[in-house]
């Protein structure tokens, strides 16, 4: 039933699947980019690649953009393809996100991000812990108190499998708050909507989810955001407290970005990075970004690799503790 397992986050991104190339106005930096998407049409990767392609071509930074969906192996098939056919894929950019780090750690596929050329991290989303609007819990302190009182009845849900992103965030937060990450009862749901229903029906006490999704739900009056994994409060929800403010020293960003084939010539790499860097100032990008509720988190080249190494360290430490590695 994988066909039907599309989370809300993925679907909001699907809305971005508009790929009409417009006339070019600015100076063209790259003739053409072929986007390789490791998942099917309509997912989060698909929306990111097509949205970025749309902004780049409409702004005239890139002449034409083409897209190829290559699903399979949780993204591993596309990574393997890019590595095996590196020579003929200098014109290809592959989109990926935090799961490339998680899945290479768990051995879902044999490669990791070091086997590829890192181009840029482009956007991101913080994580958030939310509770239902009628819940007696109003802050992380309340949640921790409820957890101390009855760990078994204070289950935290999320939209990913155990060991996946939402679980890791929940565990990371509890760990930073001085609790045993293994004691946290994490309940997985296959799509954002079902996890939401479980939260409102009282099956779970709190939900670990993406921040942009949490903001939509909070605006609809469905949930209260009790903690965000950002360094500082985010403009989209100025009332939502960060974890750090509440004395829980942890941050987490679910990034999305682009990779190229190994051995990509320096000048080509520089051109791609230049095109992406220039994209942030265009109104075309702002339109795509706003439509999808993405947060600009730009990490180019070395910054990107430092960031990924840090994240890999953070995640692998936690996964070892949780017994997934």
């Amino acid at each position: 039933m994988t066909t039907f397992k599309l989370g809300r986050r993925a679907l909001i991104a699907a809305v971005a699947a508009v790929g009409l190339a417009g006339p070019s106005f600015a100076d063209e930096v790259v003739d053409s980019i072929h986007f390789l998407i490791p998942g099917g049409a309509g997912g989060g990767w698909d929306g990111t690649a097509r949205g970025t392609g749309e902004a780049l071509t409409k702004a005239g930074l890139v002449g034409t953009a083409s897209y190829e969906n290559m699903s399979g192996g949780g993204g591993g098939k596309a990574i393997g393809y890019l590595i095996e056919n590196a020579e003929s894929n200098h014109g290809t950019l592959m989109v990926n996100s935090t799961p490339i780090v998680i899945r290479s750690l768990t051995g879902v596929f044999p490669h990791n991000f070091r086997d590829l050329t890192l181009v840029s991290g482009t956007i991101g989303d913080y994580a958030a812990i939310v509770v239902g609007k009628d819940s007696p819990i109003n802050s992380m302190a309340d949640l921790l108190a409820a957890y101390d009182a009855d760990p078994g009845a204070t289950a935290i849900g999320g939209g990913s499998v155990p060991g996946g992103m939402d679980h890791l965030v929940a565990a990371m937060v509890m760990e930073a708050a001085g609790k045993d990450a293994l004691g946290v009862k994490y309940i997985p749901y296959d799509a954002g909507g079902k996890a939401m229903a479980a939260l409102l029906s009282g099956e779970i006490a709190a939900l670990s989810t993406g921040f942009s999704e949490a903001v939509d739900l909070a605006n609809a009056g469905e949930v209260k955001i009790i903690g965000v994994t950002a360094d500082e409060r985010v403009d989209a929800a100025p009332d939502a407290q960060t974890m750090k403010e509440q004395g829980i020293d942890t941050t987490f960003v679910n990034w999305r970005g682009f990779f190229a084939a190994p051995g990509l010539p320096e000048d080509k790499l520089a051109a791609y990075q230049d095109a992406i860097a220039k994209m942030y100032d265009t109104p075309e990008w702002e339109e795509v970004r706003a439509r999808n509720g993405w947060v600009n988190i730009h990490n180019s080249g070395d910054d990107f690799s430092t960031f990924l190494e840090q994240q890999e360290q953070q995640i692998s430490d936690l996964m070892k503790k949780l017994g997934f590695l």
Binding site: M1, T2, T3, F4, K5, L6, G7, R8, L11, I12, A13, A14, V15, A17, V18, G40, A41, G42, E68, N69, M70, S71, G72, G73, G74, G76, K77, G80, T106, V108, F109, A155, S160, V161, P162, G163, G164, K185, I187, P188, Y189, D190, A191, G193, K194, M196, A197, A198, L200, S201, G202, E203, D216, L217, N219, A220, G221, E222, R291, F324
Partner: protein, 503 residues
Amino acid sequence: MLEGLLIGLQTAFSIQNLLMVIAGCLIGTFIGMLPGLGPMSIIAIMIPVAISMGDPSAALILLAGVYYGAIFGGSTSSILLNAPGVAGTVASSFDGYPMARQGKAGKALTIAAIASFAGGTLGAILLMVFAPALSSVALLFHSAEYFALMVVGLSAIAAFAGSGQVAKAMIMTILGLIMATVGEGALFNLPRFTMGIMDLQSGFGFITLAMAMFALPEALFLVLKPKDLKGDDGEIKDLRITKDEAKAIAPVIGRQSVQGFFIGVLPGAGATIASFLGYAVERNIAPKQEQEEFGKGSIKGLAAPESANNAACTGSFVPLLTLGIPGSGTTAILLGALIALNVTPGPRLMVDEPQIFWAVIMSMFIGNLVLLILNLPLIPYIAKVLAVPRNFLIPFILFFTLMGAYIGQNNATELLILVGFGICATALKFADYPLAPLLIGFILGGMMEDNFARSMQLYDGIAFIWERPMTLGLLVIAVLLVLLPSYRARRARARAAGIADGD
């Protein structure tokens, strides 16, 4: 409410919006007929068009038209080619396809159109009246109840018990459940049973398996057993339904519209469960001689899932509009579209933007009506597909079958899986094993496992079965649904053997 109705009517009846409904229905119907393109993908395709219109009401009306059109179109391929493109129409092929094979394709399509129309319309009425009150019903079900509901859904296989194939049906169901476990598991993010093949990481695709179990063996069967072709050489008779038939299916449609609607309201159930349950329930309450007909071209067996799945689709709008929770993949996509149009569904929608809420409801009525008006005259022409000579039709079916499996994932491995399973399925078909239970097991298996695993975790064991009365009740119903037909069949056999049974 009257005021709301008027606002809705006013919005929906502008010329622009009427054109939107008609365009949406047409696009939905024709694309929906292609197996492999279900409502979800068609809506995803249409969303950029809808968003570019800017007006949320018009956009939603267009999308609702596409949605209904796609559901209707989807049952067409189920009935004519035995190629269900969406899980919700699998049950429609159980009786729809046998009807088409008997030359009653026109009648089958007419029944499907009327049942869909009735299911959709009754669903919209229920939605209109009860939507605010139902938002709490949607939250009554926990994972434990969903698990029990899937078990009840599985009891639909009992429908195959009457023909003395209980054991075979059970084996096939279990095979289906086993196949559902391939891929990343619910409890752990590591691959299971993939034999190291990366393409199996996310499990078997529904479309691939549906085509392999239904459409491909059917086509191969026609090639391998050409003698069977006599008698159904494209002759189309019985286009209209008779008064008696209408009388027979009317209560079925009524019951299943209501039942389907309420199942659709639950965010974790949806049209697929609704159609299987509808089929199982109707078969169980049908008189004995009619029960024999189920699976062999019963009009009730076609009307039940068709009204149930349409009513369930309408029902899934309840959690979407009142809670902002998408109950199905399709409503999840619609939610994405709504958010992109700056409309936030949720408890405040009816208060803040009543014109949108009511325009959606009115567009459901108009969409269903337009669909019926557009499609009834077209049915004789659509049914003519079967009049195409076999040596052209079979390659045509094969083409659409293969395309359907490829189109969703753009993954050529799906084709190999499809052909491999298709050949196995053909062999099983020759050995007289029913293939539908396998697909039912496969469809429900994943959801069942997820909900079971969650309940086990929440209750630290299987205590949820007796600690939650609703779960226990549903499980008891499931047991009865399975045992009752076998018991009745045994009693009938006993009676036939001349043994007095007391009454």
